[in-house]
């Protein structure tokens, strides 16, 4: 398989491949919104004592995925806007899967698989699953024809596969075996980056134990571990019934199915140029952001940006977000740009990484750069320089699509491959005219989706 495009942003502050256990926090702030989920259906009352693993809230629009209580304590609903707070939080050591809350029931014909899917849904594992094409949550009770397992580790900065798999290889394999059963005879594709790092060796080891795994060797550049891209490459149409899941999800599934306990701890990568000691932390959802070590507190004169996710596709943590959100796998911290660079166009640029060889850094051996959130230039009309086309992993022409999206001619934009965009953000990253391709395309896709939905309802 031939891959084109892709690019590794040399961002400083890669999390060290070790896991730091965070001390227990007495108060947990669980955001009721995350990137995909909106936990609007509350299942507990204010002041109620909750058990570890109990369902606190559900997202009624997403197959009732639950927000679990990561620790036992007292629930507070109104003390913090947008959050569910657990006071007097403590590890009760007796977490169990909540079976009392109502969830959509598995259809009886699914039998054993259905029961296990029900457990995964209740134990908060289903939220790791995604439809590779839409990014949305697939229906747990429509079994897939194929599953794509991606280490998704190439974006700066997301957890390192070696860290995730350390001592948890068995759970990983158990998770894979479950997916194998669930998909019937459908293939389980495992994306395999090159090299012989710990993570890759673990993945190879897993592949050795599961002969039915279909390996897909991918290049070592961002974003070839993207599940959407892989699904396109593997020739799956946007017809649904393909599941995409990361290592965290497979491991969590394995842990839950092996112990019948919900998987409440998670490993989060904390990285970025202004984190003092970037590393991975083992923690729970709702852990106060201010207590995570190494994360600088922004001040008036030196503000920082907290990002839920990586530096290229992550979402800015809202100002009022107090704790780790339910979907957070990485926390990237960048200094907001406050400086006005002097004569930057004449800078020889030994310390500046550029995709094109327009800075002297092209003559230097590999190094990492302290990026800030600076746009580094002024917005200009597109010159069709085609840098975006050079980096695009999906093989589309972002500059062409931008033309049509800009003119609100979405039908043409779709014809030229808007739907193939995997939202990796590299086009916006390289654009010398500083055009917000990724954001533009996301909006255009959403508009198209709504239009199609309206058409269907009309018909």
């Amino acid at each position: 398989m031939k891959f084109k495009g892709g690019y590794n942003v040399a961002l400083k502050g890669k999390p060290a491949p070790r896991v730091q256990d965070l001390p227990e926090s007495e108060v947990l702030y669980l955001p009721l919104r995350s990137l995909r989920f909106n936990f609007t259906k509350l299942c507990v009352a204010d002041g109620q004592d909750v058990a570890q693993g109990q369902v606190l809230a559900q997202d009624p629009d997403n197959h009732s995925v639950p927000l679990l209580a990561p620790r036992a304590g007292t629930a507070r609903i109104e003390s913090e806007a947008g959050h569910l707070v657990i006071e007097k939080a403590h590890d009760s050591q007796e977490a169990c899967v909540d079976t009392s809350t109502e969830f959509p029931a598995p259809p009886p014909e699914l039998g054993e698989t259905g029961a296990r899917l029900d457990t995964l849904l209740r134990a908060g594992v289903w939220q790791y699953m995604a439809d590779p094409f839409t990014g949305g949550l697939p229906d747990p009770y429509v079994l897939p024809r194929a599953v794509i397992v991606s280490p998704s580790c190439s974006e700066p900065f997301v957890p390192d596969p070696g860290v995730l798999l350390k001592d948890r290889g068995d759970a990983f394999i158990r998770g894979l075996e479950f997916l194998h059963t669930a998909s019937g005879d459908g293939p389980i594709h495992l994306l395999l980056p090159p090299g012989n790092s710990k993570g890759v060796l673990e993945l190879r080891n897993a592949a050795g134990q599961c002969p039915w795994l279909a390996l897909l060797e991918i290049p070592a550049a961002y974003p070839f571990d993207n599940a959407h891209l892989a699904a396109q490459r593997l020739g799956y149409g946007n017809g649904g019934r393909v599941w995409a899941i990361g290592l965290e999800g497979v491991i969590a599934a394995g842990l839950v199915l092996g112990s019948d306990k919900p998987c409440l701890e998670r490993i989060v990568a904390v990285g970025g140029p202004c984190v003092t000691e970037p590393c991975h932390v083992k923690t729970v959802v709702g852990y106060p952001l201010s207590q995570i070590p190494g994360v600088p507190e922004g001040t008036e004169s030196a503000p920082v940006r907290l990002i839920n996710g990586g530096a290229l596709t992550g979402a800015v943590a809202p100002r009022d977000q107090r704790g780790l959100s339910a979907e957070c796998r990485a926390l990237t911290v960048l200094a907001e740009n406050t400086k006005r660079e002097v004569l930057a166009f004449a800078d020889p640029g030994f310390g500046k990484h550029a995709f094109t060889h327009t800075f002297m850094s092209a003559l230097r051996p590999a190094f990492l750069e302290r990026y800030t959130t600076a746009v580094r230039g002024e917005g200009r009309p597109c010159l069709s320089c085609a840098a975006c086309e050079d980096v695009c992993p999906a093989g589309i022409m972002p500059h062409l699509i931008h033309r049509y999206v800009n003119k609100k001619r979405l039908t043409e934009a779709a014809r030229f491959g808007l739907g193939l965009c995997v939202e990796c953000g590299l086009c916006s990253y390289v654009c010398p005219s500083k055009i917000e391709h990724r954001h533009e395309f996301l909006e255009a896709k959403e508009t198209l989706r709504l239009e199609r939905q309206a058409e269907e309802e009309h018909a």
Binding site: V9, R305, I307, A311, L312, T313, G314, A315, T332, L334, N337, T338, R340, E341, V342, L343, A344, F345, G349, K352, H353, A354, F355, T356, H357, T358, F359, Y371, T372, T373, A374, V375, R376, G377, E378, R380, P381, L383, S384, C385, A386, A387, D390, M397, H399, L400, R415, F416, G417, G425, S428, Y429, V430, C431, P432, S433, K434, E436, R438, H439
Partner: protein, 346 residues
């Protein structure tokens, strides 16, 4: 540089709405942003951005032209400076006027146009003709289309075309000063070949010891500049490759058929071919944006150049062929996209 920033801050109210010079806001902003980049933060993901911007992009083109300019100074003296200055001042006034009318910023592309244009002129061109030419180029070549990024024709070439047709006596005949002398001649290498079938030695062509437009004679410098542009990926290598390749092939074949067509190496190193290929045909705005379209564009440019050089009254055909092909760019892209996305529409 703190003092300058303070000064700018002090001056800012003058250019704000209701300020004394509110009309000149684009000039103020341009000046400000040349010295101090805006401190904008990324509004959406990706949260980090590549340092390349349009100022740097155009700056790289200017750097690539430095060998030609240095050679021009060496060969034709201080006159070159006046020509460049006139071009920048007159073109700049035009650009700024439009920026004011549009209430937008001054776009950096002008810095390239304003430098390329004088380099395409004969060394004896009167300064007022330089002014008229750049005005026509900026106005008709760029501003009427809506500014940088929206123009169909290369503005510098439009200007050059305008003066060629408007002032034929000043653009051809005995207007070519020989490098490092005061001697004026009518004979550029291409003209000499056309009238007398004489060929200048290739080494003289390479080192720029012949008459010609001020920027086009020192071919070694142009080659270095062009390679630099391609190395930095500011210019796409596909156009120079296909353009030069097609000139070579058509000249090779044509030379066997008729002696009116000059042999390939002479074609490549004579006249304005290399300058046009490296700095004008590669302009991303006015060349096809599709990859295969770039090859088509280059090959057709090459064919036209060879034909015009051999069979028209002009000894030189690069300017015409690029402008003609500029007009076909939207069509080339349309056809290429139509073929590429054929399945999608069916």
């Amino acid at each position: 540089m703190k003092w300058l920033l303070d000064l700018l801050e002090k001056m800012r109210p003058l250019f704000e709405e209701r300020g004394k010079f509110a009309l000149l806001k684009p000039i103020f902003e341009t000046a400000e942003n040349i010295f101090f980049y805006p401190s904008t933060c990324t509004p959406h993901a990706p949260h980090v951005r590549d340092p390349l911007d349009i100022k740097r992009f155009m700056g790289v083109v200017l750097v690539a032209m430095m060998p030609c300019i240095a050679a021009a100074f060496y060969s034709f003296g201080i006159r070159v400076l006046w020509m460049i200055l006139v071009s920048y001042v007159v073109g700049g006034i035009c650009e700024v006027t439009f920026a004011i009318v549009r209430k937008g910023e001054v776009h950096e592309g002008f810095f390239v146009t304003g430098l390329i244009f004088p380099l395409t002129l004969p060394p004896t061109t009167p300064l007022w003709v330089v002014g008229v030419g750049i005005l026509a180029g900026t106005f008709f070549g760029k501003e009427v289309f809506g500014g940088t990024g929206k123009n169909i024709f290369n503005p510098a070439l439009v200007g050059r075309l305008f003066v060629t047709i408007a002032f034929p006596t000043m653009m051809s005949g005995a207007v070519w000063q020989l490098p490092c002398t005061d001697a004026i001649t009518a004979a550029t290498p291409m003209a000499q070949f056309m009238t007398r079938q004489e060929m200048i030695p290739l080494m003289d062509l390479l080192l720029g010891k012949t008459g010609g437009s001020i920027g086009e004679t020192f071919h070694l410098g142009i080659i270095i500049g062009g390679l630099y542009l391609m190395y930095t990926k500011v210019a796409d290598w596909r156009i120079p490759l296909s353009y030069l390749g097609s000139v070579f092939v058509f000249a090779l074949v044509g030379n066997m058929v008729t002696p009116r067509i000059a042999p390939p190496l002479f074609q490549l190193l004579g006249g304005g071919l290399l300058f046009g290929v490296m700095f004008m045909a590669t302009d991303p705005v006015t060349s096809p944006f599709t990859r295969s379209g770039k090859y088509v564009f280059g090959v057709l440019c090459g064919l036209l150049t060879v034909l015009i050089r051999a069979f028209s009254i002009y000894p030189e055909g690069v300017m015409f062929s690029i402008v003609i092909m500029n007009a076909f760019v939207p069509m080339i892209d349309h056809v290429v996209l139509g073929l590429k996305y054929r399945e999608a529409t069916a």
